[in-house]
Amino acid sequence: MRRFLKRLILFAAIPTVIAVVWTAFVVVMEYRSYVGALTLAEGETMVVCGDSQTKDALDPAIIPGLRNFSTAATTCDQDAMRLKDVLAANPGKVRRVLIDVSPLKIGYDISRPVSELNAARVHTFIHFYHFKENRRPLGSVLSLWRDVVFKRKFNEFRKSILRGRRWKSSLVGGFDPSTGVGFVSRKLRKMARSDATDKAARVNSRPPATSDLPLLDILEEQVKLVRAAGAEPIITTMPLSGPLREAIDPARRAAFTREVEALARRLGVVYLNYLELDLPIECWHDGNHLNRDGAEVFSKRFLRDL
């Protein structure tokens, strides 16, 4: 028995040591890179911390002074946390903050599957407490470690070494519209069939009359946070493609707009709502992400409204 246990421990120790050393390295590098990437450049006075919709929609080259910190697949409370970090890293520099709110975030803001988050390289090691809400916390942490810390970060590290680049944090995003126009129609058709119905079903599953309290609470907290930092908050909702918008229950959409508008009125904040904005199909990469052309069209429209 002793011999077996000794062998077993030795066998387990080798990958464990590699895993621990690599994880520590990734966490340190990621944290350093994250902190460094939060600092605004000269002339940047407006920030936005949203999800992939926002990341692909607002082009800083068209909207002067904007820094787009949005990253893919974030939840609304993760957006709030990143915003807090940005404001703390740039005291007195931020004048305007765009606070993103989307009907797609209703009902999954905390409980969405962690595997989805992993796939999209979002806030990971720093905000571990999200996983306690998950039904399988151990499995979540393990799959998070496997997919992000090892697979993705190792690949990024390998590429950065090959290309002689510095370590880049995946916790801070930036404007990065998805693929080009040629791919649109086929993918969008497929998306209209499956993904849009899945996404819409999640939103539709909530009764229209019920407020999404966590979402609205976080929104209100963000407004207070921005005001406390001496900046002007602007609430905004990004557009959705036709198939996805139509798949969402109209009563739910109307209730969402009504609730956010009521909150904005109560707090005295401007609300720029593009939920019903109808952009042509060529502007979309898929159901809810604009492509480069779409980002240009939308950013110009947004700038005009701003």
Partner: protein, 479 residues
């Protein structure tokens, strides 16, 4: 609890430690096995523990009553019948009631009646088909006086509920497993190492081969709008390896895990895709179920030592029952009938026991004839799996139509990346199994050099950790 879940990563070392710490006290050790097995089973839904406790208790009491009875007396026969009715009644209620009631209602509606039917609509308890058959095997063996009834309830409960094989087999016989719980067990270093190795191989088959095949097969077969014959062929091919990797992987993990506890389980798979005819395929696929049906159904019906018509009847009975055992759906019945139709010509022609040895036993490669036979058998198995995988007979019909209609053969776009991983993994699996086809499991033979051997372990571990496309449940849990 699933073998491929993180919870099992904690569960197994804790149970291993507790089990061997109690090594000096047999009854305590068995009690610990029962408790651990119930935790393992109850992790899914603790309410269904009552069923397994009832099945175990009734079978044990039956054994006690039988110990003082006259062999094969009327009372004994009545008790056996009652025991079978109870065990099969539980199985029938949970697994088949809704199906048969639904079918009967459909039939009545077709005849112009308007029946009021009440469905149970309860979840199928995980592993109910497996432990019910295990309990039945004890009952019948005691009745036949092939095994002495045990007076030790703890050992008996451990035999029924032993966690590695509780939910998806192998379906153990009392003659093999029960005596192992009645005698003290000693830790064996060699057995434990081989057990770990077999578990690792099982995880490779489940996580890398089956799960990647599952993603690609689901992509190709679940989208009804595709209607692509080529995609259907590829989907069914991938499912053929998915079901093998999934189930034989589970069996390898179960057998390997049992070896850690000094318990030997029976072999459940023996490279079935290298079989040269369907009879050999069934001697190599789900061996524990096939032999169960042979011993407790086929032979009592007269087996193959009777007239031609009876042989035909017996063959169809065991294949149809075997199909129905897999689930309450006509697709499974059709799958059983398909295999019966393939098996019958061999049986009636006296060629069903032609291939009792291992293919190319004394050679590295098969002859052209053997290769042709293996490919033909594999092709038939693949056609069978098409029926098995379909949700309904009409869906199976549509797939078959697509598969033979070359006009539907289009190019395949946007295949998931798991397809490539699955293809490489299947190739590796076949290669390793071919060179280990005489052994008890895939990677039984490894280099003698420790560093080389450990290298293989680490490669397998790396593949299991990094090439698993999310946790997929085991197919056979639903049976």
């Amino acid at each position: 609890m699933l073998f491929n879940s993180p919870e099992f990563l904690l569960f197994l070392p804790l149970v291993f430690a507790g089990y061997w710490l109690l090594g000096a006290h047999l009854r305590l050790q068995n009690l610990f096995v029962v408790a651990a097995s119930y935790v393992f089973y109850g992790w899914w839904d603790w309410r269904f523990l009552a069923l397994i406790v009832f099945t175990s208790a009734w079978s044990w009491i039956f054994g006690l009553l039988e110990s003082n009875a006259e062999p094969r007396s009327a009372a004994s026969k009545a008790r056996l019948a009652l025991s079978c009715v109870i065990n099969l009644g539980i199985l029938g209620a949970f697994k088949y009631y809704d199906f048969f009631v639904g079918q009967a209602a459909e039939l009545l509606r077709a005849c112009g009646f308007e029946p009021h039917v009440a469905f149970l609509q309860v979840a199928l308890p995980v592993g109910v088909s497996f432990y019910t058959f295990q309990a039945l095997s004890y009952t019948i063996d005691v009745y036949r006086r092939q095994i002495a009834p045990t007076r030790d309830p703890i050992a008996f409960f451990a035999f029924i509920s032993f966690f590695p094989q509780l939910v998806a087999g192998p379906i153990e016989r009392a003659t093999n497993l029960l005596p192992q719980f009645l005698r003290p067990r000693a830790f064996d270093y060699g057995e434990a190492v081989l057990g770990c190795r077999q578990m690792l191989w099982g995880f490779f088959k489940k996580c890398v081969v089956a799960d990647n095949c599952a993603v690609a097969a689901n992509f190709l077969l679940n989208d009804a709008s595709l209607h692509n014959g080529l995609g259907t062929w590829l989907g069914v091919l991938l499912f053929t390896f998915q079901i093998y990797g999934d189930f034989s992987g589970y069996s390898d993990i179960a057998i390997g895990c049992s070896r850690l506890f000094g318990i030997r389980l029976m072999r459940n798979f023996a490279c079935p895709y290298f079989a040269r005819d369907i009879a050999e395929f069934w001697r190599r696929w789900h061996i524990s179920l096939t032999t169960w049906f042979r011993d407790y159904l086929y032979i009592p019906l007269g087996g193959s030592r009777c007239g031609a018509w009876k042989r035909v009847r017996n063959t169809f009975v065991i294949f149809l029952v075997s199909g129905l055992w897999h689930g309450a759906n006509w697709t499974f019945v059709a799958w059983g009938a398909f295999h019966a139709a393939l098996f019958l010509p061999l049986l009636l022609g006296g060629r069903n026991r032609r291939h009792l040895d291992v293919v190319a036993e004394d050679r590295a490669l098969p002859s052209l004839r053997e290769l042709g036979e293996m490919l033909r058998t594999f092709f038939f198995a693949l056609l069978g799996w098409t029926l098995f995988r379909a949700q309904s007979i009409s869906e199976a019909g549509r797939w078959f139509r697509d598969m033979v209609d070359v006009r539907t053969f289009g190019s395949l776009h946007h295949l998931p990346r798991e397809t490539t991983i699955a293809a490489v993994a299947v190739a590796a699996l076949l290669l390793v199994e071919w060179f280990n086809r005489r052994e008890a499991y895939g990677c039984a033979r490894l280099p003698r050099l420790t560093s080389m051997r450990w290298g293989v372990y680490f490669v397998l571990l790396w593949l299991v950790v990094f090439y698993t496309p999310g946790s997929q449940t085991f197919i056979y849990f639903q049976f």
